[in-house]
Amino acid sequence: MTSTADPAGQLAEQLSATTLLRFATAGSVDDGKSTLVGRLLHDSKSVLADQLEAVEHASRSRGQEAPDLALLTDGLRAEREQGITIDVAYRYFATPRRRFILADTPGHVQYTRNMVTGASTAELTVILVDARNGVVEQTRRHAAIAALLRVPHVVLAVNKMDLVGYEESSFASIAEEFTAYASELGVPEITAIPISALAGDNVVDASANMDWYGGPTVLEHLETVPVSHDLTGCHARFPVQYVIRPQTAEHPDYRGYAGQIAAGTFRVGESVTVLPSGRTSKIAGIDLLGSPVDVAWTPQSVTLLLRDDIDISRGDIVVPSGDAPATTQDVDATVCHVADTPLTVGQRVLLKHTTRTVKAIVKDIPSRLTLDDLSQHPAPGRLEANDIGRVRVRTAEPLALDAYADSRRTGSFLLIDPADGTTLAAGMAGEAFAAAETGPAQDDEGWDF
């Protein structure tokens, strides 16, 4: 444990970090993911004495000589007993530059849906590769899911460099192969970093063993990667969550539409259209949690006041009048099936899109995707747990749905079982990959999610 020499200095550092980055990790158990996460937490001094003491105690009682940093991240009784990670866990740490929320996703058990869960809110994904094995099937699946979920930044962490003699050539060929594959899928930004999570090379501290590498360590990259805040090109979207009507002596006529701005910016005076009704009005005021503001942007939670008293309720979407999405009852999308029971053609479901939940029916499942080679298996008839496939869904009411490529927030939806409320599938409207050429349909023997 690194001691804290200067508490006051550390305080100033911790408190100075004001931006937040959400990221996820992906990697199978043997790639050293738990060790990387443990190393990030440990070397960034985010592990406190009593946590480390608990890990040391547990490691000793299991007969291990060194503290097993993976035990920092295994929270459940069954995980510790079986030495596996069951479900996504969220971790929190801070450096002088940023605060981090890490979605720590397990490597193998129910693998796809967990990675989809972690990636859905992530702005960056770290994909681990064992330097001795290079890009394997699993790596391509990780890259494909990051591309499908449109995670803006991907880090390829080539781990166990100590076991290949810290050779630049090993790293370079893996980085080249991965970058070519991920770029083809449309991953916008890829950063490859050679590391040894076990030895600590290039995780938090720069490695003395790889002076040929001039790029950032994993942590430096996490601290400095630009989080997209360029909202000028975004279609502004405001799903109405709740209507605020105090009806008090002080506020007899207040009627505010509460919600979190899903994309873009809204200004007082702007002409807006309410979907799906198509009614129009102007923004008379914006309350930012009790204080009036002139302009607000994603992801602020605000309350909009409109000039006209029109009929608006939860589930409606307010958009700029010149920039309204088409409404539709026929949704073409890619879904990741996350439930244990299959999704079948003809099934009646509920579709939750932003704040609106509507009845729907699965009209068609045109194809199932084989992530290994991105080939499409035609007309599978059903999707099983962890399958990814194209679906066509007919909804009972029109939805103002954007393409997922344009907005992760207003292009995504859930399919829910109306009988017991189970979340069935995670949906992304529109084209699956940004740039992928889908290969010819072929037999998908060997599909083994």
């Binding site: 931006t19 929270g75 479900d87 400095t224 630009p226 919600g259 927030r409």
Partner: protein, 312 residues
Amino acid sequence: MTTSIDVVGGSTDSPYALTHLDALESEAVHIFREVAGEFERPVILFSGGKDSIVMLHLALKAFAPAAVPFSLLHVDTGHNFPEVIEYRDSTVSQHNLRLHVASVQEYIDAGTLRERPDGTRNPLQTVPLTEAIQQHRFDAVFGGGRRDEEKARAKERVFSLRDEFSQWDPRRQRPELWQLYNGRHAPGEHVRVFPLSNWTELDVWQYIQREKIELPQIYFAHEREVFARDGMWLTAGDWGGPKDDESVETRLIRYRTVGDMSCTGAVDSDATTLDAVIAEIAASRLTERGATRADDKLSEAAMEDRKREGYF
């Protein structure tokens, strides 16, 4: 760490970037409003501790200028700090809220619950809590639990479905995707909702400072009669401490968490202001629960086991 920083370039200081506190606040408000929009009978668990105080503050902001559309529920162990009960009651009347109290003492008096040999009443809260939820037919129950508190809580969803016995099954949780929270439940079931899931202890304190939220005085350094047990300072009082072989002394202490007197330890501290408290927490090498909670030390999976039974 190296000093060269501008590697991958780009400033994070866009005019549209939210600070971490603004981002967490916005997310929590979104969660409160989702529950208000989708549930019939939500309730906020309110103990008078800092996390539930921050939750109430966020709820007040989320629905301003209207009133908070939820009532409050307090599970009173009978061993609460008097300052905290006083704070609870004045807050309820100040904001014109409705408070339900589920009393552990009443269950003990009725013979339904039995006092534990170690005197700790925290685990006894589960039965009054779950029965109050059933009795009032609450369908959404807000808790101030944070994932950074404890390793079992790190696995918790923001919307956590509970069956009619309030049980948590960590292996059968709904995947939680994007900001699309699924609150569907059958009659008798309910959803536990954790708006502060992504907050850390330091975030909570920095937010309290920024928003100038008033807290019970026991969070700040004061002199108190305490005695040592299991490496912690416990408050001496009618609840059953100290035992004959434990001796009382007066120390300058404060509380980092506020729970039942029988299991919440005080820390030595001279922090009398928010600035000093924040400095102390930022420099601390112990986690919040590791420093002050006896009930989590009962076993390696103490929190997980209690959560499975219906505890928060």
